[in-house]
Amino acid sequence: MAQEPARPVCVFLVPVVRDSDRKPHPPVLWRLLQDALFSTFGAVTGPETVAYYRNPVPVRGGWSPGAGRESVEDLSRKYTVAVPEDRVDELRAILRRAGNSFDQRVMYLEVAGYAELLEVRAADGFLL
């Protein structure tokens, strides 16, 4: 029997507050994210609420708010999904769109243990 190719485990964080005004997100955004993940990848593990740090130096589970600014602790939702290697870019695209929708400058993603800080650009669009 042919063995299914290994799927890298991807972990990503979605902060529970907006970058600009630190207010919580409206319900519709969590729904759109869930719909996008469910329709694209099916099974997703999580979310799990975790503490993370916005630190001047990028650290695991954090991002840089800019040199000289104080780090603050925030809550984030952590999701885990095993994605075929050739579809990790689809996950990156969803996260960039989620970044715009959730008002984040950077999204944290780990692919098979390697951390990535995805810069969010206006051209990436929004969750639909």
Binding site: P26, P27, W30, P47, N100, G125, L128
Partner: protein
């Protein structure tokens, strides 16, 4: 006989009478879990896994009901904002047009602008809102905050689910 229905935080009504055996069983498990109380994300992780195991289709009403229950917990626990006009529009668009893509195509609303509005990155002018409401056959109503708090409470949803399970 009184029809069993579930009302979402935006007032969308889901008839529960037509649910199949598998959906009723799943909703029963959800009702028991929800009644025990849970942290917002813990409940979310639980129902997503349970829904996946149940092999119910993504368009099952139970999927939307679980998302609504999750939102109620998030609002009650201060981790999710109370619904504003965006949530009402999103629900009405889904109910009447199926998708935002189709809604924009049929009404001429700019999808990019609507996405920015949904993400709270832009606002609708009163004229634009009026035009969208006309397309959705909806009206703007101003209500006191207390009535909203009652509508989004986890308790109200728990009661509706318990009644449906009887």
């Amino acid at each position: 006989m009184k029809k069993r229905a579930y009302h979402t935080i935006t007032g969308r009504r889901f008839e529960l009478g037509g649910l199949g055996e598998k959906e009723r069983k799943f909703l029963g498990a959800v009702q028991r879990k929800f009644a025990r109380g849970a942290e917002w994300s813990e409940f979310a992780a639980w129902w997503v896994a349970a829904f996946w195991r149940s092999a119910l289709p993504a368009d099952s009403l139970t999927y939307r009901i679980c998302q609504d229950l999750e939102a109620r917990l998030g609002i009650a626990q201060g981790k999710v904002a109370s619904p504003d006009y965006r949530d009402y529009l999103a629900d009405l668009i889904e109910e009447r047009y199926g998708s935002r893509y189709r809604f924009c195509k049929e009404t001429g609303v700019d999808p990019g602008h609507l996405s920015r509005v949904m993400a709270s990155r832009s606002e609708l002018s009163l004229q634009s809102l009026q035009r969208i409401l006309e397309a959705l056959h909806a009206a703007l109503i101003i209500q006191p905050e207390e009535s909203l708090a009652e509508r989004v409470s986890p308790r109200r949803a728990a009661e509706a689910l318990a009644a449906a399970a009887r």
